[in-house]
C-alpha cells in the first residue's frame, strides 16, 4: 500500500492537481459521452414510436 492516509492519497505527493485533473476529466468525458449516446438513442426511439403510433391510428381510421 502506497498511501498512509486519505489526505496523502488526494495530495498525490504534490501532484494532486495534475493527477486528479487528468483522471477527473477523463472520467467526466467518458460519462458525458455515455449520457449523450443514451440520450440520442432514446430520443430517436421516442420520435419513431410517435411516428409509428400516428401511422397506426391513421390506418385504423381509414
Amino acid at each position: 500500500m502506497n498511501w498512509g492516509s486519505t489526505s496523502e492519497f488526494f495530495a498525490m505527493g504534490g501532484y494532486g492537481l495534475y493527477v486528479w485533473g487528468s483522471f477527473g476529466v477523463t472520467a467526466a468525458a467518458l460519462l458525458i459521452e455515455t449520457l449523450l449516446v443514451r440520450k440520442r438513442f432514446s430520443d430517436t426511439r421516442r420520435t419513431l414510436r410517435r411516428e409509428l403510433a400516428a401511422d397506426r391510428d391513421s390506418q385504423d381510421q381509414s
Binding site: 502506497n2 501532484y15 477523463t26 443514451r38 419513431l48
Partner: protein, 249 residues
C-alpha cells in the same frame, strides 16, 4: 464453408446487427467497468512511486492507453471504410461514424493528460514533442472526418465521402508521424518522451495494459450503443424497425 460466408453477410445487414448489438453492449460495458476497477487499483495502489517523477507519473496510466485507443480506433474506422468501399455494405459506414466521436474523445483525453503531465515534468503545458504533435494532428483528422460527414445531408453519400477521408487519413498517419518525429529531432534533440518513463516497471506496464483493455471495452460498448441509434435513424421507414418490440405499445 459457404454456410459461414453467408452468415457473415447476414450479420452485416442492419436488421440483424441491431438486436445483436443490443445483446452485446451490456457485456462489453460490464467488462469495461471490471477492467477499469482493476486498472485503477493497479495504478494507484500497486504501482510504486516513481523515484524521479514522484506521483505525477500516474497520469500515464490513462495518457498512454488513451493515445493507443485514439490511433487504434482510427485504424478500425479505416478498416470499416475499406470494407464499405469494397463490399458496399450499409453497416460499415454506420460503424465508422459510430466510432469517430469516441476516437476523437480519446485523442482529446490524450492531449489533455499530456498537457497536465507536461506542466510539472517539463514546466510547460505544451511542448512540441513528436508524440504530442502527432496526436494533435490525429485529433484534427478526426475533426475533419466528423465535420465532413456532418456537412453532407444524404447519409449514404456521407458514408462514402467519410470512407475516403478515413482511408486517405490512415495512409497519411504514419507519414505525418515520421515527419513530425524527424522535425522534432532536427529542432530540439531527443526530448524526454512520455512512454519512455525512466523506470518502466512490470507493474506499470500491466497497469497501462489493463487500462487500455478497459478503454477498449468501453469503446466497443459505446460504439455498439451509438450504432443502434444510427441504425434506427437511418432505417426508420423500413418494416423491420416498425416491428421491433421496443416500437410497440
Amino acid at each position: 464453408m459457404s454456410q459461414r460466408f453467408v452468415n457473415w453477410f447476414k450479420f452485416a445487414s442492419p436488421a440483424s446487427f441491431y438486436p445483436l448489438a443490443g445483446k452485446a453492449w451490456p457485456w462489453f460495458a460490464a467488462l469495461a467497468a471490471a477492467f477499469c476497477a482493476a486498472g485503477l487499483w493497479l495504478s494507484f495502489f500497486v504501482a510504486p512511486t516513481d523515484f524521479q517523477q514522484g506521483e505525477g507519473y500516474r497520469i500515464i496510466f490513462i495518457h498512454v492507453p488513451a493515445s493507443w485507443m485514439s490511433m487504434f480506433i482510427y485504424c478500425v474506422m479505416a478498416f470499416w471504410a475499406a470494407i464499405g468501399i469494397t463490399f458496399n455494405t450499409r453497416l460499415s459506414g454506420m460503424m465508422s461514424s459510430a466510432l469517430a466521436p469516441t476516437g476523437a474523445l480519446f485523442a482529446f483525453i490524450s492531449l489533455w493528460t499530456g498537457a497536465l503531465w507536461g506542466k510539472p515534468m517539463w514546466g510547460a503545458w505544451w511542448v512540441w514533442d513528436a508524440r504530442l504533435t502527432s496526436e494533435l494532428i490525429l485529433f484534427f483528422l478526426y475533426v475533419g472526418y466528423i465535420a465532413l460527414t456532418a456537412a453532407i445531408d444524404d447519409p449514404r453519400r456521407a458514408d462514402k465521402a467519410g470512407a475516403i477521408v478515413a482511408l486517405v487519413g490512415v495512409v497519411n498517419v504514419p507519414i505525418i508521424y515520421f515527419s513530425v518525429k524527424w522535425w522534432n529531432t532536427l529542432h530540439q534533440g531527443a526530448s524526454v518522451s512520455l512512454t519512455k518513463a525512466p523506470s518502466m516497471a512490470t507493474t506499470m506496464l500491466w497497469g497501462m495494459l489493463i487500462m487500455a483493455l478497459a478503454f477498449w471495452m468501453y469503446s466497443i460498448a459505446v460504439a455498439l450503443y451509438r450504432v443502434r441509434a444510427i441504425i434506427l435513424e437511418r432505417e426508420r421507414h423500413t418494416t423491420w424497425v416498425a416491428e421491433l418490440p421496443e416500437m410497440q405499445q
